[in-house]
């Protein structure tokens, strides 16, 4: 039982981060209908950037300066990607939109290896390394903070979508792009706004997961890919779905991984999200909370 509690805690922590990354996807998908397959690479590159800003052997900036710079970097990256690459492709078929993000993924991956040729690096720790114990399990302050930061971000985002002009405009765009344009809302600005937000979420997610996961490594890219299972399980166009499905995937991954490894092979933990994707595709393609499209094909 002790392991189970521990697994639940780890699962929820990791799942929260997945949910953050997945939210970035849902945001872009809802507002502009672009499927961003470069999630993993966005996570990877922003983790490396935060390493470069914060690590004692690199720029060694204090945290109060380093983290805002990371966020700024993510904002700029999101704006550049949307403005230069996706803007010319507005109203192209979905195939082009998916493939162009794959091109972005390829490019970013190359950029990361080019700028930081080593494949692994430690992530500076922001939070104390001690842990507190709940019953028989122990929770590190880091995972506690991760969950808290994720929850705060969820809260801020939902307030943003509820009350902020831009947030409301984003929801409206997701609902009916033509009507929004007719009301005089600059839709292209909504698109870049959603990409910038998505990049910030990916950056924060990447930072959190590499500081609880013990550093930056190429596996981060797959972390981003595993976040797709959150998107699929939660429903492609549902914020709530992403928030609920994140911890679910985290739990399935950790608990399933623990109990299935003796039955199968090592590393089953990391394919569970992909297996879930396939199962969801068969059973309930629109996800838990997604909008059910009635279309017989």
């Amino acid at each position: 039982m002790a392991e189970l509690l521990q697994l639940v805690i780890t699962g929820i922590t990791v799942g929260m981060v997945y949910a953050l990354i997945a939210l970035g996807f849902v945001l872009v998908w809802k507002s502009s209908g672009v499927a961003n397959l470069a999630l993993g690479q966005l996570v990877l590159i922003s983790s490396w950037f935060s390493y470069a800003m914060l690590d004692p052997q690199e720029a060694n900036l204090p945290v109060w300066l380093g983290l805002p710079l990371v966020v700024l970097f993510a904002l700029v990256m999101g704006w550049v990607i949307e403005r230069i690459i996706l803007r010319p492709l507005i109203a192209q078929p979905i195939l082009s939109l998916i493939t162009v993000t794959l091109g972005v993924a390829f490019f970013l991956e190359g950029l990361v290896t080019f700028v930081w040729p080593k494949s692994e690096a430690p992530m500076p720790h922001l939070f104390p390394q001690e842990s507190i114990s709940i019953g028989t399990a122990s929770v590190s302050y880091e995972s506690l903070w991760t969950v808290i930061i994720a929850l705060i971000l969820f809260g801020l985002l939902s307030l943003y979508f509820k009350y902020h002009r831009m947030g409301i405009a984003m929801r409206a765009t997701a609902d009916d792009q033509l009507a929004v344009q007719a009301c005089g809302v600059p839709v292209t600005r909504i698109f870049s706004g959603s990409w910038m937000l998505a990049c910030v979420l990916a950056a924060i997610g990447g930072f959190l997961i590499s500081s609880i996961g013990g550093g930056i490594n190429p596996g981060l890219m797959e972390t981003g890919l595993r976040a797709f299972s959150v998107v699929i399980l939660g429903g492609l166009d549902s914020f709530l779905g992403a928030i609920v499905a994140g911890p679910l995937i985290g739990l399935a991954e950790n608990i399933g991984g623990y109990y299935l490894t003796p039955l199968t092979w090592q590393g089953v933990k990391y394919v569970i999200p992909f297996i879930i994707i396939i199962i969801v595709m068969f059973v309930r393609p629109y996800g838990l909370f997604g909008e059910k499209r009635i279309e017989r094909i």
């Binding site: 397959l37 091109g103 092979w265 994707i277 396939i278 068969f282």
Partner: protein, 338 residues
Amino acid sequence: MDLPAGTRNFSYAEDMAIFRTRTHWVLLVALLVVLFTAPLYLANYWLSVANLIGITIVAVTGLNLLTGYCGQLSIGHAGFIAVGAYTSAILNSRFGVPFPLALISAGVMSGLLGMVFGIPSLRVKGFYLAISTIAAQFIILWVIKHWTGMTGGFNGMSVPYMSIGNLTLRSEGNQFYLIMVVVVAVVFLAKNIARTRVGRAFIAIRDNDLAAEVMGINLFRYKLLAFFIGCFFAGIAGSLWAHWMRFIDADGFPFTSSILYIGMIIIGGLGTAVGPIFGAIFIRLLEERVLHLSGFTAGVAPMVFGAVIILFLIFEPRGLAHRWALFKSAYRLWPFSY
């Protein structure tokens, strides 16, 4: 069909002919002669590049049938190639199945697996399908990495030479002949699949699957058929790859090469017969040149590939095949281009 001035079709057979005029036939024969005498004057290095290109053309032709003609996006093609490679290698080296039979079984095995992972395509499309094929790739690679008894796991496995009967193909030149025969056969087959009822059904599904079903096309059958054919070619390519490299491991089929295959059909031209050939040649030559010019600096090649895919999508979404068509009609109409 673009025909030179004064050439008219008088029968259905003439209308449908791929090689219509005498010039076409002369060019075809010249191409085949050049192709099959290449080992006599090409250096070994260029032969190996040509072999790689040939294998890639086979794989990309399959992907083109699936994605370009039928519109079912698959981003797990490298996974299906891996299935083919391992099937053939295991059958050939562990069970002593002769190579030609192993080649076909590799194709069938990949095709069947592709059908299994293609089943979601009946209910989902576009992005959903892309994700489920990515998932397929990761699941396949995980199985390959950990089924150590069969696949050798992380250590990989060595594979015998290609052989037909008692003839073992050891040199690049000999392998070149076999690979090019397969390439010519596959390209010819793909071109003809695209022209038959099946191909027209694929195109109808791509353009509007609802309308296609109303017109009486059985979506279930044709989508799975597209997955089978696409992955069958992937399996053939995998088998050739395994016996040509003579060593395979799970890291040889990464997710990035799946993206690269998609890039190839985009660059070559989606849904055209010549597209995969142009795309494969373009990317593989670029790979060779870029790797050499950059002195094997890590990261440059992916950056170039990513940029090329993005630039093609923005500036020439119809790919090199479109440029080729423009060139052909310019040549045909010269000097009176209006």
